[in-house]
């Protein structure tokens, strides 16, 4: 009920009324104009008729003289053949021949020159159009046309347009109402869908009519927006589920450990061990939390303010030097090929962490004897920016799983037992995204290659020299080739 009331009260009725008024005004304007034009044409025609007839009669007058002409006029009047009316007035203005009525009408017209055209309405009769001609014998010839037919035509036109006006008011109202109802119905469809979604049915979408009009475009956009929101909600839910799930395991381990210690109290030494284990477990949990926090901080993207020129060559070299001995001790080989003098606009700390995570990731998921290659590639042609690559010749990641490993907590089946929280690559992805860099996982056959391709615009400068000073460490690394000294860092 309320909805019907809304339709009557809403903007639709205003629209319909406005539409009708405009419609009526235009029809009326057409009617008035048409009537004026028709009247003018008919009067022009009548004028030409009376003037033509008078001119002809003037010729007859010149030919036959006054008396014969007088008889001719009387004869014309008597015959009644012509639709025109005639009269001949004497010098005193009194009728000499022809119709009394015409003579009376002519008497009220002031004579002006040889030919006068005048429109006269006699009381109780029609309008007349008169043409008065002064003849050489002092008389005046009057030829008149009854304008009654013009009045009739005017009436017909006026009537016709009155009817048309009535119909157009009706049509305007109906069309306006239908149009309004059509528009409101489409708007209502959007409102109903929105209400359904508010009520909790997130799967509802606005049905496009297939007309391809603005409403369909609106519906398509709104539906796309809803899909995007759904996606975000899903991933948010996924993340909170993952967090809840992944934190339960260490928390229950912690609890079990403490409970066991309470049930089987033993020596102080046992307590010390239990406390040590509980602290380790708590530290692990805290590390997971700070990793999550860091990812969301990076993803929030408000750290761009900390961007300043970063010497990537120095960062990669430092990371390589820091990790090489450790990787070696872990039974793997770390090699490095660094392009000199690559500087980009970025966050040094985060870029260092990105590289550390990539190296640690390679270290954690490859067997002994694996070679891990870290490369910094110089910017190439076609506005390709510099790129960091970390590749290994380990077991790699199946193509189908490559996207998934970037998700929080995602771990390959075979990695479930290795230590780690499944957040390393998520943070790498977040840091890459913050820098606008493209992250690509590929298969160097065998193994896994992770490429972080920075955009050209972040690239600050590239010295052309073959070697570059590396800050305080004072070493330099050769260009594109592997430096044997760096490979076996001792």
């Amino acid at each position: 009920m309320g909805r019907r009331f809304n339709i009557l009260r809403g903007s639709g009725v205003r629209f319909a009324l406005l539409h009708t008024v405009v419609f009526v005004i235009s029809v009326a304007a057409v009617g008035v104009t048409a009537e004026a034009l028709v009247t003018r044409a008919l009067k022009l025609q009548a004028g030409q008729r009376v003037e033509g007839e008078a001119a002809e009669l003037l010729d007859e007058f010149r030919q036959y003289g006054s008396d014969a002409f007088r008889k001719l006029i009387d004869a014309q009047t008597a015959s009644g053949e012509s639709r025109l009316h005639y009269a001949l007035l004497g010098r005193d203005g009194q009728r000499v021949a022809g119709e009394h009525l015409v003579a009376r009408a002519a008497a009220s017209v002031p004579a002006a020159g040889a030919s006068t055209l005048a429109e006269i309405r006699l009381t109780g009769s029609d309008r007349f159009l008169l043409n008065l001609r002064s003849l050489t014998d002092g008389t005046t010839l009057v030829v008149a046309d009854d304008l009654g037919s013009v009045d009739d035509v005017e009436d017909v036109v006026a009537n016709a347009f009155t009817i048309v006006l009535g119909i157009s008011v009706l049509l305007g109202l109906v069309a306006g109402f239908l149009l309004t109802k059509g528009v409101l119905w489409r708007v209502e469809a959007v409102t109903r869908t929105a209400e359904a979604i508010i009520a909790g049915d997130m799967t509802r979408r606005i049905e496009p009519t297939g007309a391809g009009d603005e409403f369909d475009r609106l519906a398509t956009s709104l539906n796309a927006m809803l899909d995007r929101i759904m996606q975000l909600m899903d991933s948010l839910q996924q993340v909170s589920n993952d967090i809840a799930h992944d934190l339960r395991t260490p928390l229950s381990r912690l609890r079990q450990n403490l409970e066991r210690t309470r049930i089987h109290p033993a020596t102080t030494q046992d307590y010390a061990v239990a406390v040590e284990r509980a602290i380790d477990e708590a530290d692990g949990l805290l590390a997971t939390f700070s990793a999550l926090l860091r990812i969301s901080q990076v993803e929030a993207g408000n750290q761009r303010v900390t961007f300043r020129p970063v010497d990537l060559t120095e960062v990669v070299t430092t990371l390589f030097e820091a990790y090489a001995p450790d990787v070696e001790e872990g039974g793997r080989i770390l090699t490095c090929a660094v392009a000199p003098g690559i500087v980009i606009d970025g966050d040094r700390e985060l870029l260092a962490q990105l590289l550390a995570n990539l190296i640690e990731n390679a270290l954690a998921h490859t067997p002994l004897g694996t070679e891990i290659r870290v490369s910094l590639l110089r910017p190439g042609r076609a506005e390709r920016g510099p790129a960091i690559e970390v590749a290994d010749d380990g077991p790699g990641i199946p193509a189908a799983e490559r996207d998934k490993v970037l998700r929080r907590f995602y771990r390959l089946e075979r990695s479930r037992t290795t230590p780690g929280n499944g957040l390393g690559l998520s943070l790498v992805a977040a840091i890459a995204k913050l820098h606008g860099a493209a992250l690509r996982l590929s298969d160097p056959e065998p193994g896994l290659r992770v490429t972080i391709a920075f955009p050209w615009r972040l690239h600050v400068e590239a010295t052309t020299g073959q070697t570059a000073p590396l800050g305080s460490s004072g070493t330099s690394v050769s260009g594109s080739s592997l430096d044997p000294a760096m490979m076996h860092h001792t």
Partner: protein, 226 residues
């Protein structure tokens, strides 16, 4: 040492205060920024530990005010705010070190010690000496018992940091931050490996070992006299 702790959370204040007292320090506690400011301006402390989020005047503002008033006491910020920008903010406001909650007490203690014995107006040193170990900072040479020790640049920096903090415990995180400028926690034993390589170059075969591993905390380079 005399330590001023400005911390509004009673439990943390208790934990930190008790720990520091057990290690022989005198601890004054302020529960908010205004009280802290009052105490810091009135007494001479060796170190201040300041929480960033405080009722009334926040830690950042308090330290800024103190620095503006010419108080040079070293400040360690203690905070849950772990963002990169926030740490930079803290250091720019006049903080000397920054530790994120949650933290291990050993970490806090090591940092407080490092700050407390820092010479405010240290004369420019060109040679560092610990026992028979000698580091020439200009020639970038290390000698021990008159024997030259060849070090990689990063190992040099590592040893320099240990020597500058001789007789104090330095933690793994302090080394990562100061030697490598890593502000994250690597999952591998970077520090352990580098320290062990450094030891094999300058500490083995010289009679006594200078670099000592402090279990649960970090490392300490000790001169033989102590």
């Amino acid at each position: 040492m005399k330590v001023l702790l400005i911390e509004d959370d009673a439990e943390t204040a208790d934990y930190v205060g008790q720990g520091l007292r057990e290690h022989g320090h005198i601890v004054d506690l302020a529960g908010n920024g205004r009280d802290g400011l009052f105490l810091a301006a009135g007494e001479a402390y060796d170190v201040m530990i300041v929480d960033r989020m405080l009722p009334g005047l926040d830690g950042l503002g308090a330290v800024k005010t103190l620095r503006a008033a010419g108080v040079q006491t070293p400040v360690l910020f203690l905070t849950t705010m772990s963002g990169v920008g926030q740490r930079v903010e803290g250091l720019e406001a006049g903080g000397d070190d920054y530790l994120t909650k949650p933290f291990a007490f050993a970490e806090l203690l090591a940092r407080v010690h490092a700050l407390g014995r820092r010479r405010p107006f240290a004369q420019v040193e060109t040679v560092l000496r610990v026992g028979d170990l000698e580091m020439d900072l200009i020639g970038r040479k290390v000698r021990r018992s008159a024997r030259t020790v060849e070090l990689q640049p990063r190992e040099f920096r590592l040893l320099e940091f240990l020597m500058r903090n001789a007789d104090r415990v330095v933690t793994r995180t302090m080394l990562l931050e100061n030697v490598w400028e890593f502000h994250f926690d690597p999952k591998t034993n970077i520090v352990e490996t580098h320290v062990s390589r450094l030891r094999s170059k300058m500490d083995r075969g010289f009679g006594c070992e200078l670099i000592e591993t402090v279990r649960g905390s970090g490392y300490c380079l000790r001169g033989p006299s102590i």
